[in-house]
Every structure is written in structure tokens, then in C-alpha cells.
Amino acid sequence: MLKSRRNEILVAAMLVAPFIAIYGWLFVYPTVQMIRLSFTDAPLIGEGAWIGLENYVKLFTDKVYRTAVWNTSYFVLLTVIPGTAVALAIALVVSRLRGYAQSLVLAAFFLPYVLPVTVVYLIWNWLFDVQFGILQSVIEPIMGQPVNVWRRIPWFMPTVALVTIWWTNGFSILLFLAGLRNISHEIYEAAELDGAKRGQVFWKITWPLIWPVTVLCLTIQLILQLKIFDQVYLFSLGGRTAQTMVLVQYIFDQAFVHNDGGYGATVAVSLFIIVVAFSVLQFQGLRARGER
């Protein structure tokens, strides 16, 4: 018995060893190192001197950092709630369709989600091209002239948010569809017998029953969009990046462009704290959902 117990531990060790090795080396260790690095003035590669809280003090006076925090929040605001609302609306209309028609329509909404960000960037860069972009024929009548949306600061974030919603909404749509499918037909039939109007059915039945999925979508999107980098970086290429900066981009900018690893790590720690704080909230929410 004792031998088989020892054997079990040995087998377990063999099974978890590769995972623990990778996790320790590329996850736990860099997390600890990131915090250590944030107290130094090290370049990207090489050692630096310990400078205490200097980097953190700098955060509070750094204008570009403030812009990055603001832009990230603005981007979250522009994508999370509008994106989730659009996803719910699409899921509601798609769920009415059946069989082949539903798969086809759903594929149209979901396909962008599986594409690489650079493909999305190239497509929308073309659609909005100042000279030849087809969307300028929508913008021009309204604005009176073509607008270079990637170079005009007020246009930048909303346009990137629009592209992001187009790109990533398939995920939320799928979650909502699953949620809608779980609502029993009997409830709808009963409501119909009672003569409930369509609006009433939505607000009195669907909305409260779909609420847990809505919360799930909102929190997943929130944490995802706080880590925004790819689209903003690509669309701002060649532009005034200091004004369209977001947090992850600022880590990249400080560490890789300005070779200031220490300060880059400090920005990373601040992002880390923000994301962990929101994740704890999400985790509490999920746990509450699981216990019910």
C-alpha cells in the first residue's frame, strides 16, 4: 500500500514537472523579476542601480503615462458596454433563425474573431484610406471632406474601438447564444398565452435570465480590453503615438524604444495591479455565480 502511494506521488511528479518548470520559469519568475526591475534604472538588457521608488514617483508626474491611462480607460469605455450591447442584440436576432440559416448568419458575425490582428488592421486601413477607402464615401457627405481617421486624434480611439467591436464581438455573441438557448421555451409560451408583448417578454423574461451571461461578457471584455495593444499600435504607426498611447504600448515604448527597462517594468506593474484588481472582482462574481 505504501509502495503504491509512493508510486502515485512519483507519477504525479512526472506529469506535473514540465508544466511547473515552464510556469516557474516563464510566469512566476518574470512576475517577481518585473517587480524587482521596477525599482531599478536598468536598461532593457543589463544591470541597473537600485533607485527605490523613483520610477513610481515619476509615474505620477509623467504626462504620457497619464495619457496612456486615460486612453486605455477611454478605450474600455468605448468597447466594453457598447460591444456587449451589440453582441446581445445580434444574439437575439440570430437565435430566432434555425438550422442552416443560423449557421450561415452566425459565421458572418463570427468569422472576424478568428482572424489575426494584422489582417484586421490591413483590411480596415484600406476601408478608411483617405484617398481610395470605400468608407470615405460615407464620411465625406457628413464631414464635407475625407477624414484621415488614424491621424485625427478625436477620431482615433472611437474608430479603433469600432474595429475592435467588429473583430472580437463573435466571442460574446456565442456566449449570449448559449445563454439564450438555456432559457426554457415553456416560459416564452406561458408569456405568449398571457398576451405579453414582445418588449415585455424581453424586459421581463429574457433580460433578467440572460443577466449572468451579460455580467460574464462584460467582465471578460473589461479585462481583455485593459490589455489593448495590437490594434492601437498598428493603427498609430507613423502617427503621433504619444497622444494615442495606451498602457501596454507604453511598456513597449519605454522598454524597447527608449531602452528603459526599469521604467517599462514600473508601467507594467501598474497595469498588473489594475488588471489583478478587476480580476479579483470578476473571480468573486464567478464564484457567486457558481455557488448559486
Partner: protein, 290 residues
């Protein structure tokens, strides 16, 4: 009594008729929305098979007048897209294989075996969900540079192996395998590895396929890390490389979009072929058991 029945059926008739007109309108609206949503992809596809002079002509049509594959031929002959494809395939398949294998092994150990530190490991994995990987780029770069793996396939692969979701999903699925299966197999003298690869894994083939597909799509699409880890064009993945196509080609949208179509095609096809599995994988990763 008769009056009530008549009233109910009249009411039903009314809602039915109302539903018909409303339904048809709503369905048409849905289809229009789907077409609008799909339009950017269609437009990219169409642009990629137009000659360059037709692309920049005002009011260029929805159907190309002189379809041509010149854009594709140009990208294939004037860029490293073949090598990028190879790099993407090597890295994405390696990441998929390793992530799924580690998920299987670790998930099985946590679910079925009793060993010291088991719960601690489980909590660490759950907690690691919260850690934003993009925040670690600086230190990933330092680590990978330290072992001289920058600009290599292994260097691109390593930091992408962090996937707590896979372990969590497998642990949950292995938990739900009835205890009897295990006991019967142990009676027959099966060891743990046989149990895992002969019984537990085949029982969850669907999960494995779903996770493998979504991991592959994620690895193929990864941008930030492969972008940082590659220095030379011949080590880039397709996802990173096609932005180079734009830099070198200038305003030549047919070529640029031909590159984009080629980069997106593998993942789009994977999705269209395995639509159901992708849906399942999304549900699994969001914590909804499908």
C-alpha cells in the same frame, strides 16, 4: 366557456399574424446586418483580385471587372511569405501540441492523483488567470535574450506556452469521469499512464480537439510576442510579416490585401471546417461547459 376559447384562439391568431410580419422584417434586418458585418471581408477579398489600377479607380465596383491573381503572385515572389508560413506553422503546431499535452498531464495529475502540494498547485493555476501576460513582455524578453533564444522558433514558442485554461478544462473533465472506470482498470492492472492515455483521454477526445483548434488559432494569430522576439524577416510569423508587405509595397492595396488574405486564410478555414468545435472551445474557455 365557448366564448373564452374563442377569445383565446382569436388572440393566438392575432399574435401569429403579427409574428409573421414582424418575423419576416426582423429576419430581413438580420440578414442585412450580417451582410454589413461580412462586407469588410468581402471587400478585402475582392480588392485582392483586382488589378492595382482598378483598385484606386473611384466607384470601383463590388464585382471585379478584370479579376487577376497578380497581387498574390507578386506577394509570393517579392516577399518571404513562404518562410513566414513555415515559421507560423512550426511555432503554432508546436505550441498547440505542448500546451495540450501539458494540460492533459497536469489536469490528470490534479484531478486523479493525490500528491503533496496538489491544492497549492491548483490555486496557483486558478490565480494565474488574473495575471496579464502582456505586462510580462519586458521580462520575457530579458529571459529569452539571456538564453540566446531571441529570433529562434523556440524563443517564439516558449512564452506562449502559458495556458492555465487548458489545465483547468481538463481537470474539470477528468473530475467528471465516473470513479468506476478507474477502479475497474486498476483491478485489471493498468498503470497511471495507461489509464490516462487509454481511458481518460479517449473519453475526452472532443475536448482535446476543441482545445487544440482554439490554441492553434490563438498561436497563429499571436502578434505582440512574436513581433518582439523576431529581429530578421526570415524568422517572422505570417501575422507579423504581412505588415512588412505594406511597408515595402507602399500604396498597392491589391498586393497588401492579397497578403492579408493569405495570412488569414488558414485560420478562417480551420474555423469554417470545425465551426462546432470552435464554438465548444469558446464556451469551455469562458467557463461554460459545452
Amino acid at each position: 366557456m365557448t366564448a373564452t376559447t374563442a377569445e383565446v384562439s382569436a388572440g393566438e391568431g392575432r399574435t401569429l399574424r403579427f409574428f409573421d410580419v414582424g418575423s419576416v422584417l426582423l429576419t430581413i434586418l438580420t440578414v442585412i446586418c450580417a451582410l454589413i458585418w461580412f462586407f469588410p471581408l468581402y471587400w478585402a477579398l475582392i480588392t485582392s483580385i483586382k488589378p492595382e489600377d482598378e483598385v484606386v479607380r473611384p466607384f470601383s465596383g463590388l464585382i471585379p471587372e478584370n479579376p487577376t491573381l497578380n497581387g498574390y503572385i507578386y506577394v509570393i515572389t517579392h516577399s518571404n511569405i513562404g518562410i513566414w508560413y513555415l515559421n507560423s506553422t512550426i511555432t503554432a503546431l508546436s505550441i498547440t501540441f505542448l500546451v495540450v499535452l501539458m494540460g492533459i498531464c497536469c489536469g490528470y495529475a490534479i484531478s486523479q492523483l493525490r500528491f503533496p502540494g496538489r491544492m497549492a498547485l491548483w490555486w496557483i493555476i486558478l490565480a494565474s488567470f488574473m495575471i496579464p501576460v502582456p505586462a510580462l513582455i519586458v521580462n520575457h524578453f530579458i529571459i529569452i535574450a539571456g538564453v540566446k533564444l531571441l529570433n529562434t522558433h523556440l524563443g517564439i514558442i516558449l512564452p506562449q506556452l502559458i495556458a492555465p485554461v487548458t489545465v483547468i478544462v481538463y481537470k474539470q473533465f477528468f473530475d467528471s469521469v465516473p470513479r468506476d472506470f478507474r477502479e475497474a482498470a486498476v483491478m485489471d492492472g493498468a498503470n497511471e499512464f495507461q489509464l490516462l492515455f487509454r481511458i481518460f483521454l479517449p473519453m475526452n477526445w472532443g475536448v482535446t480537439t476543441a482545445l487544440a483548434i482554439i490554441t492553434f488559432i490563438g498561436a497563429w494569430n499571436a502578434f505582440l510576442w512574436p513581433f518582439l522576439a523576431t529581429k530578421t524577416e526570415d524568422m517572422m510569423t505570417v501575422t507579423v510579416g504581412i505588415t512588412e508587405v505594406q511597408d515595402t509595397f507602399g500604396v498597392a492595396y491589391a498586393r497588401v490585401l492579397a497578403g492579408a488574405v493569405m495570412a488569414g486564410l488558414p485560420v478562417a478555414l480551420v474555423y469554417l471546417i470545425f465551426q462546432r468545435r470552435v464554438t465548444q472551445a469558446i464556451m469551455l474557455s469562458a467557463g461554460i461547459k459545452g
